[in-house]
């Protein structure tokens, strides 16, 4: 079974996501469609890129990850397809593949050159008229190289990097998840015994698990992406600290 995952900021209520699924169901009838998410905040390429980083490599080789968070639809932004460590990708060239391209050992990337599709595409909905048909081609066995010429300069997001300054790591919150966990840009291995503060509020030492503090208390742990996270056990660190993406994090090591 070929699986196609869909990641968009369309929501589902308007029928746009189902339109893409319908195109795929027609053009690649044997494919299994998995909605990864349609709930990316509108236009939030960074959030989509981070979400994608959490699952792309867990799917088997041959999976097609279709990503349409595309605030640049209707502009001259390129459309790309890629194969990275055996999984395929179809997406706008806007940085949404940043973590995939960083993490994969083997990457091939092409610009989608499909005038027969773009000529008739609605200016506002390339998900339906360009990206889904191209994903269906991959799902039915069309080789990546037939989709268009190689790309060597994909758009990459400027991901904030932590900096060491003496005994301190100057870092930041790069994402808040649904539970209110503050995901920082500090790799867990950098500061296994560090002391963490968010916007001057002390969070304590890095712990092994939520259970190392009482319910309702702040705790820093290494999360499932391998990055340092700040949480409240059975609560929301984002609410507690009034902190979001970009909040300043200091780890004293």
């Amino acid at each position: 079974v070929t699986r196609v995952t869909l990641l968009t900021d369309f929501g589902t209520a308007d029928g746009y996501a189902a339109a893409m699924a319908g195109v795929l169901a027609t053009a690649a009838p044997g494919a299994n469609l998995d909605a990864a998410s349609h709930d990316i905040p509108p236009g939030d390429v960074f959030a989509a890129a981070l979400a994608l980083s959490r699952y792309w490599s867990l799917y088997p080789e041959g999976t097609i990850h279709l990503v349409v968070v595309d605030p640049g639809v209707g502009t001259a932004r390129r459309a790309v397809a890629a194969t990275a460590d055996g999984r395929h990708f179809v997406a706008p060239d806007n940085g949404v593949l940043t973590w995939v391209l960083r993490a994969a050992a083997r990457v091939r990337l092409v610009e989608i050159d499909a005038p027969e599709l773009t000529e008739h595409a609605a200016a506002t909905f390339h998900g339906r008229d360009l990206f889904a048909p191209v994903a269906a081609r991959l799902a039915t066995g069309v080789p990546l190289e037939e989709l268009g010429p190689p790309v060597h300069d994909p758009v990459l997001l400027a991901v904030p990097e932590p900096e060491r300054s003496g005994s301190r790591i100057l870092a930041e919150v790069i994402q808040v998840d649904r539970f209110g966990n503050l995901i920082t840009n500090v790799p867990g291995g950098w500061a296994p015994d560090g002391r963490v503060a968010v916007e001057e509020v002390d969070v304590g030492l890095v712990r092994g698990t939520y259970a190392d503090v009482a319910a309702g208390e702040l705790v820093a742990v290494v999360g499932s992406l391998g990055l340092l996270e700040v949480s409240v056990r059975d609560g929301s660190a984002a609410d507690r600290l009034g902190a979001g993406r970009g909040a300043r994090v200091i780890v004293s090591v």
Copy 2:
């Protein structure tokens, strides 16, 4: 593979949507279930009808579109099944098929007559006890005609129509999508060079694509339904204009 799509206003958190899926999985084990959406606003038949219009014909022939937005559950409203241009539909007879019945070239419509189901159906949940079992019958090959007698007077929604008045088109916003785009009832072909205003605010000439204006600016384009839409590039026209369904639109041609 027979595909069954589900469109409801149930949300997913209560387990109602999964109950319908479970009934289908049991009665039509080979069917592939695609959640088109469970996020239609509660009872909003118009929104469901418009969402359905965006995807029903993109699925292959033989697909079964199950639609349960059913504020009239427990009243005498009819339940219907239909075949339109090769796709099947199961839904309450409340207008949710309006755009399907308008657009399809070949339509057969029947009233579902299934006393063995309705006698035991929960008064509040025909999705589980009537509509899903009937969809499963279609999925397993039962002919439409065996489901009940023909219907010739389906309920249709009163869709507001634009009016020409001299050099102006008097129209309205019929839907706001997740991006804050204002979808009007003006067919794109009516006013390719028109000048658009929403509630007296000038939006400018109809453009080809979002890229024809700067980020943050209002723009009128022909959207993916073929209707005139008013947007803000990289923003929300609904927020900018404080406008929603029913807002007055004037196109000067």
Copy 3:
């Protein structure tokens, strides 16, 4: 086709739900994945248990219901797997299976003993690193008994029970659904002709269906779980009465 349903409080936007799906797609490639819901309120085990009660038995025997609403992740809470009336379950031992264990005629329950998984599991994400791999084992035919030793004392939720007091039933609202229906803990059979009040507000006699009152009026009916519910026809009883989980219900019989 083996079906695996997923019920979580992860939302979809962070990519956690897709990570679980990816693990399943890799380890049980033939399985069909149905997202029952990812929208359970964060940490709300009671809501998840009630949602699960609505659909688990409607799926065919052999289905695997994977439930990861797991506020205790990283604590010493057990992980369990079960077979109940032919359906399989993988979940934290936190009460989320309460209604399944109550309702099923035949139950086998084991504690998951998989050190090769738990040793390498992220402390914050057993859904990906423990529960999904175990569900995949069941999906590929591993017998329940091979997953670990029997459990005889599963955690059960303290479900509030209605009490009879003379001619009155003292009860409460146990859940509010998406439509604002107030689901009580009173079995429909207890008071077919009773008169219902919520927090002192009279709702009238138990009716057969919403259609027995006019639009906008309060009505008590027996809902699809077989429990007494209080609704507003074409509206929200929760909004009308300002009532939620725990609100006092009195039925005079």
